[in-house]
């Protein structure tokens, strides 16, 4: 009985369908990086709902998708699509930028 319970707990933890964030209802947005710009640069999302951000690097250069306020930092290779998961946001504006290229205009995710 104890062994079965242990196996169940371990399998839940490894596959963890219960706790995985992607299984929770969330809003999805897509940000594409091309020609030294993020598109769109400003995105409105609903406050209070977990967010999935798909970052598409459509350029031929490596970027670092970073947000100081959201505490995220991801290297995205040319042609790569990366998923960044965010918790439910409070109303406000959250920056994002390419930390490898200072000349790329900053973008913002605005939660309302």
């Amino acid at each position: 009985m104890n062994r079965r319970l242990t196996l169940l707990i371990v399998s839940l933890f490894i596959n963890n369908p219960v706790v995985r964030a992607e299984d929770k209802p969330s809003e999805s947005i897509e940000i594409t990086y091309v020609q030294r710009r993020f598109s769109p640069e400003m995105i409105n999302v609903s406050a209070g709902v977990p967010l999935t951000v798909k970052v598409v690097n459509g350029s031929k250069e490596r970027i670092e998708f970073e947000s100081f306020k959201l505490n995220r930092e991801k290297v995205v290779e040319p042609g790569q699509t990366l998923v960044v998961r965010l918790p439910a946001l409070r109303p406000g504006s959250y920056d994002f930028f390419d930390d490898f290229h200072a000349d790329v205009p900053e973008g913002a995710i605005v939660a309302r």
């Binding site: 490894i14 963890n16 706790v19 995985r20 964030a21 992607e22 977990p50 490596r62 670092e64 100081f68 306020k69 505490n71 995220r72 930092e73 991801k74 290297v75 290779e77 790569q80 990366l82 998923v83 960044v84 998961r85 965010l86 918790p87 409070r90 930390d99 490898f100």
Partner: protein, 282 residues
């Protein structure tokens, strides 16, 4: 014969105190006043860091406060050079060179460290973000430590609540060679609260300390506990800083320590492919 014993006994006791083992108090690492977050160095990125700490008001005897060897902590400058590389999206490796300048002395080699650090799953998959840390340390004995080699493990826990990050790194250390070998694990902690205000300047509060051996804690007055109000952020050129003044909270702690860390990250090339989105370890 009796007179001989009376004359030799104090001398013997004195020599035991002078040459005997110093107490095990390695739970506070003065070469690295840094709280580890859940996030690791991104894959293919190299991070160069220098961690500096000066004991502006410490102890005048070795083996007291942050001084774990024969040199006293008073006016000691701890200086570490760290190179970290992001192996995968979830694991990084780092090497450290530890230097120190005792009061009135020269800057000298004090030891080395090698470590791996990782994060489990992706952000916010678990209710609390969980990471891990494993380190092997070498010390110059007896000047800077009484233990020659140590192994350290830490779970890393982080919870972000809006602009506030709460980080906790409990430390478990085991002496592999030198004084304390054969004893149990020592317990220490590193913890911090950071408020993300602006990229250039943000405030934080950091905590460092230790209680001694797990099965035989030191008296509270002999333990070390520090609180560091800090400021941190990014300087022009992508240089990141963390500056803080630490105050000792017990008699066993140094009274005031000033720390200043600088780091620079650059992409140098990835050795491994991007990690699986649904993976949890590599």
């Amino acid at each position: 014969m009796k007179h001989f014993l009376f004359s030799i006994l104090p001398l013997s006791l004195l020599s035991l105190v002078a040459l005997g083992p110093l107490k095990c108090s390695a739970q506070v690492d003065p070469w690295e006043f840094e709280v580890y977050p859940y996030a690791t160095t991104p894959r293919g990125m190299a991070e160069f860091e220098t961690d500096n700490a000066v004991v502006t008001s410490g102890h005048s005897e070795g083996g007291e406060g942050t001084a774990m060897g024969t040199f006293a902590s008073q006016k000691m400058w701890f200086n570490a050079y760290e190179f970290t590389y992001g192996l995968t999206d979830r694991i990084e490796a780092a090497v450290y060179l530890a230097m120190a300048q005792p009061n009135g002395g020269q800057l000298q080699w004090a030891g080395e460290k090698f470590r791996f650090r990782g994060r489990l799953f992706d952000e916010d998959v678990l209710p609390v973000n969980v990471g891990w840390y494993a380190e092997l340390e070498w010390h110059k004995t007896p000047q800077f430590d009484d233990a020659a080699t140590e192994l350290e493990f830490r779970p890393i826990l982080e919870k972000d609540i809006g602009p506030i990050s709460i980080m906790l790194n409990p430390k478990f250390e085991k002496v592999l060679s030198g004084v304390g070998r054969g004893k149990s694990f020592e317990f220490g902690y590193v913890a911090g609260v950071q408020y993300r205000w602006t990229r250039r300047l943000s405030p934080g509060l950091e905590f460092y300390g230790g209680s001694g051996l797990i099965d035989q804690p030191d008296r509270i007055s002999d333990q070390q506990h520090y609180v560091f109000p800090t400021i941190w952020g990014e300087l022009p050129g992508g240089l990141e800083y963390n500056f803080g003044v630490g105050y000792g909270l017990t008699r066993g702690s140094d009274r005031v320590i000033v720390k200043f860390n600088l780091e620079l990250e650059r992409f140098v090339g990835a050795l491994f492919k991007s990690s699986e989105g649904r993976g949890w370890f590599f």
